[in-house]
């Protein structure tokens, strides 16, 4: 799960990093957004159930919907075979 600032919400950390880019010669890099990644295992009957559980977790705890959005990607654990 990737949690980052909503579009239109100021991202001072990204802005600070962006200001350093020209100093390093990265003139072609812009639109920086800084987020945070959460990696965890969900036991669920299928991918849709895992997705729903992760989105519920994002909504209730891991992201603050007032200022953040969460993107969830579900990958089956290899040891358990394809879901």
């Amino acid at each position: 799960m990737e949690v980052s600032a909503l579009e239109g919400i100021a991202d001072p950390e990204a802005a600070t990093i962006e200001r350093a880019l020209p100093l390093l010669g990265f003139d072609a890099v812009g639109d920086m957004r800084v987020g945070r990644m959460f990696r965890f295992v969900v036991q669920a009957s299928d991918a849709a159930a895992a997705q729903a559980a992760a989105e519920e977790l994002a909504h209730r705890l891991l992201a603050n919907p007032v200022i953040q959005r969460a993107e969830v990607a579900v990958h089956p654990l290899e040891s358990e075979g394809a879901a």
């Binding site: 919400i9 100021a10 001072p12 600070t16 705890l61 007032v66």
Partner: protein
């Protein structure tokens, strides 16, 4: 300035792992004739208290987001119930962050614009007197208060901002915006006015020795609101759990 008639007001000062302003808060409350009592965050009941303060610090280490985990501490259900029944609830600095995460106050506190930790004394102006914190002040009154934060940049959705403006929920603004807060907001209240949060530290401005006693104006008002409500309890118990 001590608020007459507020003697005997009992204030719960909620302590989370990582809180660090609780003792200052208890001390400051004593200067406005109130009795503060530390309450550990696992406590389930806040019965018998006339008001609640969620003090500053770094509740649960500020992990995840400021206030994000404190919101789920056991005591918060009692805070929620008290807030809904009209008990004055004040969040100072990290306490403000906790109350927004708990959705007892609208909006969120983000990293300061400019990316700097701020530790200075700022001037704030009273915008609305309809909150428990500012009821005893007058609109336009200026107060010198210390700020001490990294995440004090008040943010909310545009429609929320308009509601805050039109319903008098902006209690204080910074005279000179130090942290990028929308419309220079320093303190907001819920619609009923009994739940208030602010980033400045009134508890650190309660003796002349500390450079300002303006914090007593705010804490005195808050304690007075608690005393008034306690004196009328039963008649105002039905204060609606107004949505924030």
């Amino acid at each position: 300035m001590s608020s007459s008639g507020s003697g005997g007001v009992n204030v719960a000062v909620v302590v989370f792992p990582g809180s660090n302003c609780e003792h200052d808060t208890v001390e400051a409350l004593s200067t406005v004739d109130a009795r503060g009592e530390l309450v550990w965050h696992t406590q389930l009941s806040l019965e018998g208290f006339d008001a609640i303060v969620v003090p500053g610090g770094f509740a649960h280490g500020d992990y995840l987001r400021t206030g994000a985990i404190a919101r789920f501490s056991p005591v918060m259900e009692a805070v929620r119930q008290a807030a809904a029944s009209g008990v004055p609830v004040l969040g100072i600095c990290n306490g403000f962050q906790v109350l927004t995460e708990a959705r007892l106050l609208p909006g969120a506190l983000m990293r300061n614009a400019g990316g700097r930790f701020l530790c200075e004394t700022v001037e704030c102006e009273v915008i609305s007197t309809s909150s428990a914190l500012t009821a005893n002040t007058s609109v336009g009154q200026r107060l010198r208060l210390p700020i001490n934060h990294f995440e004090g940049n008040y943010t909310c959705a545009p429609d929320t901002l308009e509601t805050l403006e039109s319903s008098g929920q902006i209690a204080l603004r910074y005279v000179s915006n130090p942290n990028g807060s929308m419309r220079s907001i320093a303190a907001v209240a819920n619609r009923a006015g009994n739940v208030v949060g602010l980033m400045p530290h009134p508890e650190r401005a309660c003796t002349a020795l500390m450079g300002s006693t303006d914090g007593q104006v705010l804490l005195g008002s808050f304690v007075q609101a608690a005393a008034d409500r306690a004196g009328n309890s039963g008649t105002v118990a039905a204060v609606a759990a107004a949505g924030v």
